[in-house]
């Protein structure tokens, strides 16, 4: 298991956001975390990436403890987090947003190569490379946010609701890209989604959170076929 979270409890002030959460994701697998609003999905991601401190519990990444390590240090250990709501900086250009992702490597040659790689994945970003990010459409911004994360050459990718506010066709395209990247770059991915069906379809593993607790873990296809999950999260 490359990512191992056990008995994680996180509070927002006095409110318990997640309680005793344990998840394990093997290398190269895509895990979808689904659940309704307020289930603690975002909190879980923010805790793994170091933005939020857990009250108790442990987190291991590639055999090392990562509790208490700052996000800027975790990036250097291969953990990239695309936070909720099109995580780009609107005032910067597309190129600058991408360069940002590779900035910690301090190697402009590698950075340029990574930009070429991202542009080959998202040709639309190449067309808009000099534009400010606030001129992009919602889908393009999401591509840029994922592109920035790829620039860091991550091994663990944390994605928070990449489908939020996007047209269905664009959502499908983004999900397919996430699936392709997972396979081609041998990434380990945690995908938090409200769009449970879309996420489970591309995932290897499904984790259902409810009110801060893990209520189901299984193969993604098994969850899709589970009548209880279908009724509660897939809407039919």
């Amino acid at each position: 298991m490359s990512l191992n979270v056990s008995n994680l409890t996180v509070h927002h002030g006095a409110i318990c956001a997640i309680s005793q959460v344990s998840i394990a994701v093997p290398t190269g697998k895509l895990a979808a975390i689904i659940g309704s609003n307020g289930a603690g999905k975002t909190t879980l991601l923010r805790t793994i990436s170091g933005l939020k401190h857990p009250t108790e519990g442990s987190m291991m990444w590639k055999g090392e403890k990562i509790v208490g390590i700052k996000p800027e240090a975790l990036v250097r250990r291969g953990i990239s987090h695309v936070s909720e709501g099109k995580s780009v900086i609107p005032e910067l250009t597309v190129r600058e947003n991408l360069e940002l992702g590779a900035i910690w490597r301090r190697n402009s040659k590698e950075s340029k190569e990574s930009i070429d790689q991202v542009v080959s994945i998202f040709p639309r970003l190449g067309e808009r490379i000099k534009q400010r990010a606030d001129t992009l459409s919602g889908g393009e911004r999401q591509m840029l946010a994922i592109g920035r994360a790829i620039m860091a050459k991550p091994q663990l990718l944390l994605l928070d609701e990449p489908s939020l506010g996007l047209a269905p066709l664009v959502v499908e395209q983004i999900f397919q890209t996430i699936r392709d990247l997972t396979t081609s770059m041998n990434l380990t991915v945690l995908l938090v989604e409200q769009n449970a069906m879309g996420a489970l379809k591309i995932a290897d593993l499904g984790i259902v959170l409810n009110l801060g607790k893990v209520v189901a873990v299984n193969h993604a296809q098994t969850l899709i076929d589970d009548p209880a999950v279908r009724a509660a999260y897939l809407g039919y």
């Binding site: 933005l51 900035i103 920035r148």
Partner: protein, 301 residues
Amino acid sequence: MDLVNTFLIGITSGTIYGLMAISIVLVWRSTRIVNFGVSGMALLSTYFGYEAMTRLESFWIGLAVAMIGGAVVGALVEILLIRLLEKHKSTGPIASVAPIIATLGLASLIRATAAMIWGGQDVRILAPVSNDGFTINGTTLVFSPLKLLILVTVLVLMLILSIIFQKTNIGLSLRASAYSPEIARLSGIKVNWVRTLGWALAGAAGAVAGMFETVNGNGALSPYSIESFLLLVIGFIAAVIGGLDSLIGAVIGGLVLGLMIAFVLMYVSSGLFFIAPFIILIIVLFIRPQGLFGAKAARRA
């Protein structure tokens, strides 16, 4: 001739005000703090420049020492004062006011310390070139070799700063950390140190403003000189006119103020020196409340 003369004088003092405004904007962008300590920091670094200049008999070494000293002072203030305040941050109205009050206290502290070390008397900073005006066709201008030198030096420094901001990774880190600390951290930027760097750059910019404002006046420097007070007030107005968030805005704000003050003094009344900047501020804020270069809507924190 008068017109050109007034224009050049206005531009020269405008660039100095612009530097001061840059110092204020850099601090605002990196820590969202309105730094009233900026005049104190500039004063202290100008004394550093004075010490180096008298020992080594070169204005330029003095200027360099002032800049380095200013950068160190800025960094130390951020590390020792601002971080501490951030760590013990309370909630409610005090939280946003505390750092501002602290910077006010800092200005007084530096002023009093400077008075203890260098005394309340004037010390003199000698200009590298003459401040006697150029003579063209028998008429002597107020615009002098010194003013020309100040103008060119400040413009060069501003150019260097803008290249740092637009073309280097350090500049990208500074901008990213200002716009979105969270995305900057998730990109691996050590935002804490970038903040310190922002304060250091602000200290260096304030130092140059302090040195040039002193020699552009009569060269006299004292802890209670009117120059440092003026720099604070006019630098602030320039920063606010420029939108507080924008470096270009700070420069333009400084130039607008410098020019307007020069023209008001020349063509209206020299008694308006202290009033003119405020009138300009109020007019700008009436027409464009967000400042000339400010973003219309406040950014979400």
